[in-house]
Symmetry: C2
Amino acid sequence: MPFASAEQQLIEFIKQEAGNQYIGDDCAILSGGLLVSCDAIVEGVHFLLPDHSLEDIGFKSLAVNLSDIAAMAGIPQFVVVSISAPADFSIYSLKRLFKAMHQFADKYRVKIVGGDITRASKLHLNVTVLGKENTNGSWLRSAARTGDVVIATGDFGAAAAGLWSLLQNLRSYRYCLTKHRRPEPRIKEALQLAAVTQSKGALIDASDGLADALVQISAASNVGMEIKEDLIPMHEEMRKAAKEARVDPLHWALYGGEDYELVGCVSAADWDLLSKATPRNFKKIGAVSSAPGVFVEKSTGERHALDMSQTFQHLKADG
Amino acid sequence: MPFASAEQQLIEFIKQEAGNQYIGDDCAILSGGLLVSCDAIVEGVHFLLPDHSLEDIGFKSLAVNLSDIAAMAGIPQFVVVSISAPADFSIYSLKRLFKAMHQFADKYRVKIVGGDITRASKLHLNVTVLGKENTNGSWLRSAARTGDVVIATGDFGAAAAGLWSLLQNLRSYRYCLTKHRRPEPRIKEALQLAAVTQSKGALIDASDGLADALVQISAASNVGMEIKEDLIPMHEEMRKAAKEARVDPLHWALYGGEDYELVGCVSAADWDLLSKATPRNFKKIGAVSSAPGVFVEKSTGERHALDMSQTFQHLKADG
């Protein structure tokens, strides 16, 4: 069963069944502007032991959740943490894991307010994050309009390159390894975006890849997009790794996933404000069009529609 | 590694490390009287497939969480649901699971507002529940005072008897099987308790057994307790099953766990109000004393301290 498409099917089913307005964005927005989201990371699916250290795993379990708050341009406040671990997992290991989570939470001024510890056959971390909306309200996937500028933070493909180099046991791709192991949620950038524009555009995190992020915004906003390969930020080290791996760097950038960068759409006027206020944190990667479909114009001039059958899937180590 | 004691050790470590006031009760209480708690249930630890149906599992994943809100005398409002399932788990099964969760949520007027679906080698459900405090505030484990009456809802030991009869493939113990498979959180009773007394006593849910609940309140409140076996509510069918299993029914009642009944302490005046307003929902099972230790007086007149080395542990099917 291709699990990504199963998830899509199930989300549709859940939306219909639950019959509520909460499901479909990176977080649910509850009364009082409370944001809530949860994400699990699972041994053999999202990380491998001992390739990933307990510190990496602790960091990542929080990073992926805080990234969902960033994707709403919100402010993370609290997390609850549920750890399931095998019976032979030592107290020492649990403490190392928790210390890493606590250190990461501190960095983002988030409090760990509760949790649960159970046994399981594999290590399994589930985090629920609570946050609040910024004063102008949440940025949603559905807010893109024809004529908007498509923007993104950071760079793409490096997390995929990092996973590749980890599995190849190549330790020299340090930037990519760090992007894979210790993703940083773009909280600061998201709040800057909201503060500078004083408005609400479209926003999502690229947890499942840039291609998926663009398609999700397009579908929710009922618009199309024209993206240019030359504008997609890619790190030099990722290009070098791609060459060694004989992969098109654009492939990793679009479909690699786990970059946890932000992807959004803002009006031309807001882009003008943003590029002056913070020229380094956001890059323009394309434009929103009225015609359906997300198209990428390659450096060669070739233009193709995104192939969502290549959408990011997690490690296939587990079943 | 005895996992229950590991959990205790780790909770202490987390309390110290996190250095915050949120951890230690059934829910964390956040600003605005927001209650939050999470609990995972795991295949092979909390349930067995196919002995437990998907509907049982869906119900239970919510029931154990709503029970934590009941334990604060709070009102549950929202849940987020994280499901991890093996790659060969069908969409049909996921839908059955979700339908059961939705049905249960509806019954308690709780909205499912978000979630996450990932792969894992075993079925794993993690639920985070959000709720609000009742108008008089939360009932805490630490509120018991010398002279209080120890009270409890429902009956004890039936869930353990139900698990035993399930594993023995004895289908005739229907009351016990239902108590094991479909525990009902005591939301209504908890709110009644708060409304009738218009005060705040001590409260906890007996998820890890009556003995554990009594010891947790005693420790948090720095008091002792005198409990009478003859006053502990036990169902006739549980006694019958205990006889067949050659187990002392008091053992199941104290250490069996998963009854999800409420255990609390109220002043003599509040007990007077409560026993008049709702004579059936709460029973007196003992008294709070100033001397340390929780003692049970058996029907034979014998008196012994609770043996916490016998504290409830989940199914030992997994490692």
